[in-house]
Amino acid sequence: MHAEKVKHDFEPKIVAFVCTWCTYAGADLAGTSRMQYPSNVRVVKFPCTGRIDPVFILRAFQKGADGILVSGCHPGDCHYMAGNFHARRRFAAFRKLLEFVGVDLARLQFSWVSAAEGGKWVEVVTELTERIRAMGPLEEFKELELEECWSGKIDTPELQEAYKAIP
């Protein structure tokens, strides 16, 4: 029934920031329904999308995420009434800022996945993983991590060595 497992050259790191009431539960439902999806995603649970600080997205990119999903309750379904409405504005603005700085927004997905939408969770995660896999690793932030003074070039051989020494 299941297709033969394909080995890919590049397996992206995908981080999902989700609210506990809808999307986390939706992902649970995908589990109880034994749906299958790529194993790249790591879920970080929040009470509400309203709690998700843009800094977390930035930090995840810096720490090696190749793609990020932010997902919560559909509008009107927020367990806290309005958290997702605030989140919606916050991320509408933040994605524009990231885009302006030069982050490809294809790497940052937002979705509403309810507790009943196990299928949608699978769909969203699969689609994002495949898209990022096709795009390749997010080099931009990784390059930055290695750079030091003098206009961002690794300046000396010993520094290059030092960075290599960080496993």
Binding site: C149, S151, K153, D155, T156
Partner: protein
Amino acid sequence: MPKMITEQNLRALIDLLVKEGSRVVGPKAAGTMTLYEPLAAGEELVLTELPRRSAKEAFFPLCETILTYAKGEEGVQVNDIDPARFPETVLVAVRPCDAAAPGILDAVFSWDYDDQFYQERRKKTAIIGLACTKADDACFCTAVGLSPAETQGSDLFLTPLSGGGFRVEAVTEKGEKLLARYSQLFGEAGSAQPLPPAEPGGEKLELARIKAWLDANFESPLWQEIADRCAGCGACAFLCPACHCFDINDEGTEAKGARRKSWDACGFAKFTNHASGHNPRDAQNKRYRNRLMHKFKYYDDKFGKHLCTGCGRCVRACPVGIDIKAVLDEINSK
């Protein structure tokens, strides 16, 4: 016999040095500014402008990794950075106010404990100074005892000649060696006259008088008056050729990461803040006082030098118009 070098040969010298594996750092166009940066070729050298940041970062970089660590099964592994492997460097077209700085900073970086990150770079760096023929109204090197033609601090010193090219003076043995090694690029100076040095304006300062006032005026309304305006940023300190405060931080996780040393500024509110919340310099007046005292009194007390070369960078950069020259003028007149 005085030597000279044409501008073309100066650029050729850079090309040659780079080719031989030296790192050459000099003024280079960086967007709207000029910065001291590693040069890939002689043509990148900019001779007309004072770089926005001082040359101190050739010895004391903005941020440098001093060690890396990783936690493995057998505990923590610390990976050293060996200063012995820093590259041979030539700092080229350094203005006298920048060239003077290392001579001031040597004292603190070798005081009992040798900071090899600084020392090793210092040892391996030759400085080719360049006399200034123009100054702006922020420049005040002459007021603090330097001059646009000051050779002290340089190993080799260039003075622009009226007909183009530069008169070359070997100031130190290091300079002599450079001169000898690349003699094919240097010619005889002949009769060409050097361009007159720049004339920075402003009142002369009696630094001893200023120090005497500082000795006696730890408490003074002056500090509050300046602090009222001071926004508490670090622009002055970071652009200063002589400021050398730094911070040490671990970046990374418990499992792996790097320890880094980076510039810090005594004007920052949290500079002296204890983890407990106690802060000895808890107000901007105390912090500005420390800045000025450190420059013209404390460092003098300790090392007999003052931490100012009159480059004027802090004057130009201060977003709220604090003018250290005006402050010194005021103290000088007291």
